[in-house]
Symmetry: C2
Subunit: 471 residues, 2 copies
Amino acid sequence: MSSAQVRPAQSSLSGFPEWLPAGRVVEQAFIDQLRRTFELHGFCGIETRAVEPLAQLTKKGETSKEVYLLSRLQADPRDRDSTDPSKQLGLHFDLTVPFTRYVVDNAGVLTFPFKRYQIQKVWRGERPQEGRFREFYQVDIDVVGDGALPLHYDVEVPLVMSEALAALPIPPVTIHVSNRKVAQGFYQSVGIGEDQLIEVLRVVDKLDKIGAQAVADELVSTVGTTAQQAAAALRLATITGQEPEAVREAVLAALEGAAPHELLLTGLDELTALLDAAHRRRPGAIIADLKIARGLDYYTGTVYESFMAGAEDLGSVCSGGRFDNLATNGKRTFPGVGISIGLSRLLSRVLADGLVEVSRAVPTAVLVAVTDEEHRAASDTVADTLRRRGISADVAPTAAKFGKQIKFADKRGIPFVWFPGADGEGDSVKDIRSGEQSPAEAETWRPADDADLTPQLQPVATAEPDTGGQG
Amino acid sequence: MSSAQVRPAQSSLSGFPEWLPAGRVVEQAFIDQLRRTFELHGFCGIETRAVEPLAQLTKKGETSKEVYLLSRLQADPRDRDSTDPSKQLGLHFDLTVPFTRYVVDNAGVLTFPFKRYQIQKVWRGERPQEGRFREFYQVDIDVVGDGALPLHYDVEVPLVMSEALAALPIPPVTIHVSNRKVAQGFYQSVGIGEDQLIEVLRVVDKLDKIGAQAVADELVSTVGTTAQQAAAALRLATITGQEPEAVREAVLAALEGAAPHELLLTGLDELTALLDAAHRRRPGAIIADLKIARGLDYYTGTVYESFMAGAEDLGSVCSGGRFDNLATNGKRTFPGVGISIGLSRLLSRVLADGLVEVSRAVPTAVLVAVTDEEHRAASDTVADTLRRRGISADVAPTAAKFGKQIKFADKRGIPFVWFPGADGEGDSVKDIRSGEQSPAEAETWRPADDADLTPQLQPVATAEPDTGGQG
C-alpha cells in the first residue's frame, strides 16, 4: 500500500479540469485550510450566483472576450437572439465583479468594514487551443469600507493570505508589494506627463516578460518619454527590499536629484507603513518590489503579486490591491482592498510536480469484513458504532474470502480491517500496513495515531537545493 | 444582541438566490454536516466540471428544455452558431448525468463499488415567470458497481441520507420507498400489458396531485386499462407501512385473487429485505409507500422520495433509486443506486419559515479593541495570539471610543470584546451579553462555553401541534 495516486481525471473537454478522488482530497483540504485561516481572522464566507448580466461583466472592456454567454436551449427566439446586454446573462469570470455588485445590492444591510472570503469556480471563454483553464477555482478575500477604509487593511489582507498559504503543504509563497502612488508619483517627479502615467505602468508591467532594454525602447518610441525618463522608470523597477527605510531611501535616490512629487511621498508613507507592520507580524512574508504595476487594472494604491518558490515561471499565484473607487451606488462609494488566488492553477502545478502526497483517496479508516452474508448485520453494527464515535467505516461489499476483503482495503489505502468475532469470540482489528492484529471493541477502539482517522496530506521534498532560507 | 438575521440577499435576477452572511453560515453548516456524515460512511467527495456537451445533456429528451447553452461572447461566428450538439456546451442540470460520464471516463482507474458524494450547484433554464430556482445546490450520494451491485446498497443509501438529514437542525424527514419491480409485477399480475407499464407508472405518479378518481379515469381513457385494472393499481398505491411482512401481505391481498407475477415476487423480496434492514438500523426512518413511482425516470428497482414533517406541500425533498443500466461504455455496464437532495429548495423553505436561527453571521468570537492608533500593534498581537489558539478574532477598525467599539461587536453578534491593558495594567475581556468583565491573558483565555467559539445553529420550535411521533 502506497500513497494514493494524485492525478487529473480523464476529461474529454480541454480547459475543464476534473480530479480523481485523491486529487479532490487535496483540493478539498486546501479549501478547508484556507477557510479556516480566513475565519480565524473574522472573514465571513459568502457565495454569489454564477451569472451576471452581460452589461455588468463587460463594464471593463478588456475582459469582454472571456465571457461565456448563456441562452436557454428552448427559449423564445426573441430572447435567444437578444443582443441587449442588460437582458443577456453570462458566467462570472472572476469574483470581484460579482462581489462588488453584491456589496452595492446589499449596502443597506451589510455591516462595514465588511470582511469576506469567497471560494467559487469562475469561467473564462478562452480560445481552447491556448490550453488555459476555462473553469477554475478562485479564492478571494477583500475588506470593503463604506466611504473610507483605513490603511491598516492594506497590511491585514496580504498577511492573512500569507498565513493561509503558509498553512498549506506547498513551497513558500512570498508576497511582493508596490504602490501605485509610488510609481505614478515617481514618474511625475521625473517629468513624465499625467496623460502618460497609465501607459508607462502598462509597459513597465512587461519587464519580466520582455526585459529592460525592450521596456526602455517602448517607453521612448511608443509612450514618448525621454531616454532619461525611461532610465529612471527602470531604476525604480529594480528596487526590492523588506527594510522600510532602505526602500524609501532607494526610491528617493533613484530620482537622481529630481524633487519628489507629493504623490510619491504619500505612496512611500503607505508602502513603508505596510512593510513595517508586515515585518513585525510575519517577518519575511512580504517584500517590496517596485516593478509590480498590475497593468491596466483599477488599483489606486497598494498592489500585490505573489510567487511560489521554485515555480516563479508560473507567474503570480495570488494578486490584488487597493481599489478606492471600485464600487459605488451613486450616493456612496465603497473602497476596498483584496487579494485573490487562482487556486486551480496553483493546485494543478503542485500536483503535476508531485509536491504533495495524500495517504489515501477515501475517507474510510476501517473496513469491516463480512464473514458471510447472513452475518452482514453484525458488520453493519460494528461500522455504525465506529461512525457514531467519529471513525469513518465501510463494510465489505461481499462476503468474499478474507484475503480478498483485505485486498479491497489495501487497494483503497484503508489502513484497518475489522473482523467481527464468530461463535462467542471477540472482534479483532488488523493494521494491514504492519500486519499487526489485536482484539478490539467497537465501543472503545481508536487507532494509535489520530492521523489515521482521515486522509493526510504530506509535502514531498523536492530535489531543489536548500537555499538556506536567507532572503 | 439577538441572533443574526437569516434572509435572502437582494438579487436582481429572479431564480438565482443569494444569501446574506447569516444565511450563508446556515448553508455552509448544512453542507459541512452532510459531508461529515457521508465521509463517516466511506463516501468519497468528487466534483465534476459545470459543463457537458449538449449531446450528453439531452440524451433523455425530457430535460432538454431546461438546459442553459454556452457561447463565447467573442467566438468565431462559425462556432457560435453551431448547432452540432457534440460541439455545443451546456451547464449541467443535475449531478447524475455528469457523474455517469465521469464514471465511464475513469472506469479504468476508479475502484468499484465506487461510493461518492457530490455537492455542487446545478442550473436549469426554467421560464423566469415560474419562480423556480434556476441555480441551486444539489447534494447527491451514489454507489456504482462494475457489472453488478449488491442489493444491500439499496438499504445503505437511504439510511446514510436519513442519518445525514437527521443531523441537521430541521424537522424530521421520512424516506418513502417503493420498488419498480413490485409495481410493474403487480400490474402484469392483473393483466396490464407490458407496453402499458410505463404509462401506468406515469399516471399513478400523479396520484397526490390529481386524486384517485382522476387517476382511474386517465388509466381507463388514456392508457386503456380496464376499470378493474385501474382499481387494482389504486389499491396498490394506497399501501404504506414499515413492517415487512405486513407490506408483503397487503400487496398480495390487493391482487384480489390474481396470481402474482414472478417480477412482483422478486420486487417484494427486495422491498421487504430493505424494510427489514432499515427497521433494524434506523427504526422509523424509512416507510414503504407503494404509490412512489418516479415518473418516466431510468429507475429499475428501488425508488425513494422523502418528505419533511410540516412541509409536505414542498413535495419530495430528496429522491432517487436504483438504476441498473444507467452507465455503460459499450463493454461494461455500471449499475448504481443513489439519492439526491435539492438543498437550496430545502434550505430556502427552512429559512423562510424561520425554522433555524444562527447565533451570529460572522466567525469572529472576539473583537480586540484599539486604545489608540499608536497602540494598534498591541491589539494585533493579542488577536494573532488568540488565532494561533484557534479563537477567531478581529481588531477594531478604528480607535473610536470604547462604547462605539463595543457597539461594533454587538451589531455583528461578536460575544467578547478584549481590552488590551495600558500602562502596565493587564488585559481584560468583556462578555458583552452579560456585561461581565474579567482579567485575561491571550495565551490562556478561552470562553467558558466552547459554543461561543463559532456561530451556532439552533432549530426554532414551531407552533405546529406535537403529533406524538407516531407514524
